[in-house]
Amino acid sequence: MKRETILNAVILLALLMLPVWALFADEPFLITLTTRAVILAIAGIGLNFALGFGGLVSLGHAAFFGLGGYAMGILAYHAQNYTPMMEWPLLIEGTKSMPLIWLVAIVTGALAALVIGALSLRTTGVYFIMITLAFGQMFYYFAISWPAYGGEDGLSIYVRNGFPGLNTMDPIQFFAICYVLLLIVLFGTWRAARSPFGLMLGAARQNPDRVQAVGQVPYRLYLTAFTISGAITGLAGALFADLNRFVSPAMLSWQTSGEIMVFVILGGVGRVFGPVAGAALFILLEHSLGGLSEFWHIYLGAILLGVVLFARGGLYGLIVGREVAHD
């Protein structure tokens, strides 16, 4: 078995065993912490789809994460207040049903990514970075200045949304939902990375001229990847908001974009499982360093700097080696 496969299995197993152990040790906080890591991993997988597979350095993924969060917040807000979201031209009501909320979050994330991507992908390189960052900031300011849904204060949800047959307020059951979603997203991403689309997208990342010379248009590949990326990140945002039963403009801030990117980098860019390792590592650092010092971001910054300057493959690069094996 390849080292990468073993590492994948170890990480997935650790993420599963920790909450199970915490359940028996009666440490509900650890379950919530792991749930957080799992949800952030999904957000990282979303970004990795654009960044790792497509080479699209997006600093605006907080937009999709936050929109997913607000999709959950707004739907649940209307449901808990028994007010319709819209009465004309057709009646739309809020909902407390998770699957429905996920669907809305995915569609919202995808649509936003489609529009932002269609504009930003007209440029490349450093322009693309600045533009995605700017569009992300646009949503942030909009959320702050739009008073209907809490403005700067955000929206609180009294009770976590429901899933048929489960008690979502029980930490371990909510964890199970998120973990299964992570597995589904991982499986889908893993297949997509090896699909015809994945092959052509990888080529477009490495060499757009080559893709054109074989009769394909890089822009369409990038835009598709960016849209899928936004959809996955939107789903993560809805879960994250549900975990906290709270959504605020902070989810849309540029720091969030930066942090999602940090997950991807800590784990290893372009590896399907990289963001899972990265998010877990990030939560671990936050928890352990955060306990040591109030100023733990200094250490995080130093570690990130070290990874970028000296260990570019992230955790996967260190353990597995640099090459990305494909077949």
Binding site: Q137, F142, M261, G301, L309
Partner: protein, 305 residues
């Protein structure tokens, strides 16, 4: 709505614009010459503001505070250029983004460690307080007027430096062909450090000048940084002229949008709703401006097509 109020708002927009230019000019120079995207430019802005607030509190002198902001930001710039940034010139943009993001974390938390979480206040000096009478009977803040004048003077100086001086010639040569200036016997690594220090000093100066009308606090730099990015996208990367036009456009659009849009909506909505819709849209106006430029000129107004 009076025409005088509109003119005053336009002046505010101009003042905002020239300050954005100080940020954007450094960023665009650094990108043009070294090919580097520097997210930590906002941190240099913050360092300038904190240095000014600290020195002003100690000495009570605003001029000393400004000098301190220039010196502190330039020194911080030289320090990170020599330790970190220099290793990034040959790296891809992703590495540059990540490393400079890491620098933001370090600078922000470091500043919080030194100065605490509470905002500092930098008072504008006595001799720049109050208002002046402009032609047409417009009463306008003397300090803001000074900012406009200082900003325009710095812009003029920058244009002159790039067009006429030896360093300017090297900078232009560096933008066109990096190997060429090496071949001409210019010490590239010193040139890079100088350009970086110059950009840093401009950012620090902007931070100090703005610090006197806003709170000096952690994280003050990044919103300005992102606006400066919008300026660069609109103006075209690497172009000082583009940065100037873009900065003024962004400054005016933002300020006038916030002023006018609520009033426009008030024409056909009830006042409180008009204010909320208007101000929400105004908060998006510059990004919509950017989107418009992208649709028609993806390389910016003054970028190479």
């Amino acid at each position: 709505m009076s025409i005088l109020l509109l003119i005053e708002q336009a002046l505010n927009g101009l003042q905002f614009g020239v300050m954005l230019f100080l940020m954007a000019a450094g960023l665009t120079l650094i990108f043009g010459v070294m090919g580097l995207i520097n997210l930590a430019h906002g941190s240099l802005y913050m360092i300038g503001a904190f240095a000014a607030a600290g020195v002003s509190a100690l000495t009570g002198s605003f001029l000393l505070a400004l000098i301190a902001s220039l010196a502190a930001a330039a020194m911080a710039g030289v320090f990170i250029e020599m330790t970190v940034i220099r290793r990034l010139y040959d790296r891809d943009h992703l590495d540059q983004v990540l490393a400079t993001f890491a620098l933001i974390l370090i600078f922000s938390e470091g500043t919080r460690y030194l100065f605490g979480s509470f905002p500092l206040f930098l008072d504008k000096p006595e001799w720049l307080s109050g208002t002046v009478m402009l032609p047409l009977g417009i009463e306008y803040s003397l300090y803001r007027l000074t900012l406009i004048v200082v900003g325009l003077a710095v812009a003029a100086g920058l244009f002159w430096m790039i067009a006429r001086t030896r360093v300017g010639i090297r900078i232009r040569a560096g933008e066109n062909d990096r190997e060429m200036i090496g071949a001409l016997g210019v010490n590239i690594s010193r040139l890079y450090t100088q350009v970086f220090a110059l950009g840093a000093a401009l950012a620090g100066l902007a931070g100090a000048l703005i610090g006197a009308i806003q709170a000096v606090q952690i994280g003050m730099g990044e919103p300005v940084l992102i606006l400066a990015f919008v300026v660069i996208v609109i103006g075209g990367i690497g172009s000082i002229k583009g940065a100037f036009i873009g900065a003024i456009l962004v400054g005016l659009t933002d300020t006038l949008g916030r002023f006018l849009l609520p009033q426009v909506f008030a024409l056909f909505m009830d006042p409180s709703e008009a204010t909320s819709v208007g101000s929400s849209l105004a908060s998006m106006s510059i990004y919509l401006l950017m989107a418009g430029v992208l649709l028609f000129r993806p390389k910016g107004l003054f970028g190479e097509a």
